[in-house]
Symmetry: C2
Subunit: 243 residues, 2 copies
């Protein structure tokens, strides 16, 4: 589980407690606010979990080894840029990914504004908790509890409500870090090829990140595409220098 910039120590403690309740133990925190993080580390029932939590500076780093990155949130004002699934329908997707040997991250944004558009561009999937339209926004600790309850009871192999194991066909997608590496080379290629002006660079980077997650190439294909772009880039630079 990944918490991006959590603020309230009570919420951090509650999120960790819910993890312990449902048998999850790998927590990564992205750019926590230091004093609040230290305060949270004494949360009842989740001390060990919080003390063993991994800390990263960026979400990219937090999900680097994951093959399925699932963002959480409610889309009140914006349109999703990736596939959206309602929480009660999430289990089969998680089961399938685990059957393929994949590694999954469930990402929660800060209490204030949830996951940003940039955060979400690292996610293949956005899961929505079906809440009442008059009060759609959930407390962070409660949202974590509800999501982990659903996954633990309906998607994990030991879950009482889990379906019979999915036969292993196909392959897990390439991990997030491979996609980021590929995106970097594609971006350099776009620049080197004069594909679009430098002013569009941030927007292109965002769209590219999403595109690669929609494609979800498997590790072999990701390597192949990377090889191709590296070659193209080398060529472009040679040509340019040779002019």
């Amino acid at each position: 589980m990944v918490l991006v910039s959590p603020r309230n120590p009570l919420n951090i403690g509650a999120a960790a407690r819910a993890m312990a309740n449902f048998g999850f133990d790998q927590l990564t925190v992205v750019a926590p606010y230091e004093p609040h993080w230290r305060e949270a580390c004494s949360a009842v029932g989740a001390e060990a979990l919080l003390q063993n939590a991994r800390r990263t500076e960026s979400l990219a780093e937090a999900v680097a080894d994951c093959t399925l990155v699932i963002g959480t949130g409610t889309l009140t004002s914006r349109k999703a840029e990736q596939k959206v699934v309602s929480l009660p329908s999430l289990a089969p997707l998680v089961e399938q990914e685990l059957a393929h040997g994949g590694r999954i991250a469930l990402v929660f944004g800060s209490e204030k504004h949830g996951l940003t558009r940039a955060d979400l561009s690292w996610c293949q999937l956005l899961v929505e908790i079906p809440t009442n339209e008059r009060q759609p926004s959930m407390n962070l600790g409660q949202a974590v509890a509800v999501c982990l309850y659903e996954v633990a009871t309906r998607a994990l192999p030991s879950a009482p409500g889990a379906a019979t194991p999915v036969p292993i066909t196909g392959q897990a997608a390439a991990p997030s870090a491979s996609l980021d590496l590929l995106a970097g080379v594609v971006e350099e290629t776009m620049l080197a090829a004069g594909y679009s002006p430098r002013s569009m660079q941030a927007a292109n980077r965002h769209d590219l990140r999403l595109l690669l997650r929609r494609l979800a190439p498997n590790p072999g294909d990701a390597r192949r595409i990377l090889g191709l772009f590296r070659r193209v880039l080398w060529r472009l630079r040679q040509t340019h220098e040779g002019r």
Copy 2:
């Protein structure tokens, strides 16, 4: 939803917030601790719900008009005296009760010790959230969120995951208050008949309450049984006086 003697204002607020999130609006609080209750009433996103909450002195009063009373908790140290169901299996029971025109109460105990054995004797059913044995005890606000999520998404008629409506056969059980009335007359009868010593009165009362909830008579049958016991009691007293 019924909260029995909640203590922590943050938990009361979180419970109310979860109700608003999942579209529930009828809250009853049993014997709240006054200062904390007042403090909780300003919880973000649930002010109206908390201000409209009904307050009762006893759980019996809180569930008087309910036909299915569901207690919540984890049975770590004691054996259940009523039917226990795991939360992921609760939906069909709730659906059926609603299809029969029943009225359901979901009861949560205080943070400190959950529902007492006495509280549970008003419940026909005990629902357990399947938590990890190393950290089974959930935070109150999170337990409420998880239970209401499950009911809202899988048992209510509008739920995306709800099964096709159950055909209406049978009838909802008699409400809790009728069972209490009946229990009172049966108890007087037991005493009048010298069925057991007065020292056993509390234990008998407890067992009787549970027995009636296991029987779950429909309203007509509850009236019939009551009529019978009233007659028997009248007779016992007459005989006694006539001696």
